[in-house]
Symmetry: C2
Subunit: 350 residues, 2 copies
């Protein structure tokens, strides 16, 4: 916990003066003031986060964290549990959605095993950070021990620290874990006080009966584990997941290292929500990639104070929404850096 | 008119069977069915439009048409009229918003003078198709003659025909013309029957008094010219603009040549609306890049039946929204072509 607390204590508000300086610079570009809308918001926020007037976001990395979930024995997902390691192999061979979209936008995908129920030992291309072979079934007891939660969260922080050292300009989150909308809904319900039914949806596409069961399982888990809504790490430990904890750590670490972080969809936002509850300034470093189809997502984004960049009706995860949002953010930075001013272009002002 | 009518007669419905084939192929990719939402829609529509199972959209061109407007003497814009040629020069030297965003997404910008009040003679890098040095003030009489309307529209069709010959996979529309939200609002009001006030907004950022005047000027022009709402080309001629007519031609030409066309914001959509009123199948070839801040845009998109891809609070034009939407469409095509199937990746199905 010492390392986590030290990381949290490094988080500071972004530089408001640089934010305003960047907007003034945008206002001198050859366009009506504010006419590039959110692209201007992205540009000024990246300046304020990085503290650099000409930020370089060309080095973009998406971390796709993989973990399994004990709660899958309760029949909460459409897909069998073995799909988690199968998809990890798909990521490593470049055939998954996240690979295609990351290549398209010039981002690198780094796949992290933080808790898959499969032995990947010695496999190259994978970042080996397994905490355990899946969480425990949270409808029967806590999903993980405190030590495991700390270990998974530390994985994310250390990766963010490494990004700082490597000059990464923009980080994206992603995940893979059959069953992981279930702990995500549990986290939102625990923290927001919303009913489970209000924040629980069909995940990969379960039917009506399975949805009723999924809600029941989450309600059972919350009633049994009684996570303390005022203690986000207690919630994470009792009903979370290893990949979710790693995302929490990555978001905290990015905020501590002044790196902008783009959170993907429903599960990533659950991880970011925990981080945001731990320090009020975390939100200043966060960009919400898209509005997920999954209900409950909007509640979380509102609580984090993040407006989604895209609404493409995604419900895949992996970091797919983050990849596309990252290229829009990058385009905003290029507007700041590359557009001519009225003076440079000899254009009359309004 | 013969050439225009011949072009319209070449427009056919897209291939519905290929649309379904493409969706079946997407359903075998390693993801829950439909989980990439609109990216899947883009991919299957591009297949159906192009008629090719593995469409190549790597060659992307945005046409930015420039024209001036006689109605600017009525004080409808915040910026002086000379900004139109100044911005054309800015486009040619690569310093404008459209240049930055096109470079970012790997699209080429082609700048077309279809009616700027400036002598660009002999200037390289510009496509010289000037019909006249600006339209006439439509609050005093028709904006253009029938011959001029036909000439401007023909410019767009011929560019689309050339795209077909050159193997262009995806076309975007853009425009520059101080005052051109005014004819655009006039077109929507004339065609939709909405009041002028319902479809007229602040353009580059005019204040309250100027907005009242702008509405009055448009009402005057409609009352004087009495465009026939059942005859879209009459509307275009009486209250349109040269760049708007060229966009109408480009959209018609793309539909006739089975090329997907991404329409930018408010002004581009006015051009596309005219095209869409001329043939019911035009809409099948059109992608709406984004939801403009300008009121009246939503009415047009609804009438065309197009759902905007982005909502980034843009109100710049030039093709800036189209550029960003084009890269999202391209990413959808890559999902179709590059993602592994369940069988290829050895992933279990749900």
């Amino acid at each position: 916990m010492k390392f986590i607390n030290e990381t949290i204590s490094r988080i500071k508000p972004v530089d408001k003066e640089k934010l305003e300086q960047a907007q003034r610079r945008l206002d001198n570009k050859t366009k009506p003031q504010g006419s590039l809308g959110r692209l201007e918001e992205f540009a000024r926020r990246i300046v304020a986060i990085s503290g650099v007037q000409d930020p370089d976001v060309s080095k973009k990395i998406i971390f796709t964290f993989a973990g399994d979930h004990g709660v899958t024995v309760e029949g909460v997902s459409l897909f069998p549990r073995e799909v988690t390691p199968q998809m990890v192999l798909n990521f490593l061979s470049g055939g998954a959605g996240i690979n295609v979209l990351s290549r398209h936008v010039g981002a690198e995908v780094r796949v992290v095993d933080v808790g898959v129920d499969y032995d990947f030992e010695g496999m190259s291309g994978l970042i080996h950070k397994k905490v355990a072979r899946g969480t425990k079934n949270f409808s029967k007891g806590p999903a993980m021990s405190r030590e495991q939660m700390v270990a998974a969260l530390t994985v994310g922080i250390e990766l963010a620290d490494q990004c700082r050292a490597d000059g990464v300009g923009l980080v994206g989150t992603g995940e893979m874990g059959i069953g992981n909308t279930t702990p995500s809904s549990a986290i939102i319900a625990a923290i927001s006080g919303k009913t489970v039914a209000e924040v629980t949806h069909r995940g990969t596409g379960i039917g009506d009966a399975a949805l009723v069961n999924k809600i029941r399982v989450i309600e059972l888990g919350l009633a049994l584990n009684k996570p303390d809504s005022k203690d986000p790490l207690d919630v994470l430990e009792k009903v979370g997941g290893f990949e979710i904890a790693a995302i929490t750590g990555l978001v905290l670490g990015c905020a501590a290292n002044s790196i902008p972080v783009v959170i993907d969809g429903f599960i990533s936002t659950a991880g970011a929500l925990i981080a945001s509850e731990l320090h009020p300034c975390v939100r200043e470093y966060v960009f919400a990639a898209h509005q997920s189809v999954e209900i409950g997502h909007a509640f979380m984004l509102e609580r984090i104070g993040a407006e989604p960049i895209l609404d493409l009706k995604f419900r895949l995860g992996e970091g797919t929404g983050a990849a596309l949002a990252m290229t829009l953010i990058e385009s905003g930075v290029k507007i700041l850096k590359e557009m001519a001013t009225f003076e440079q272009a000899g254009v009359s002002q309004g």
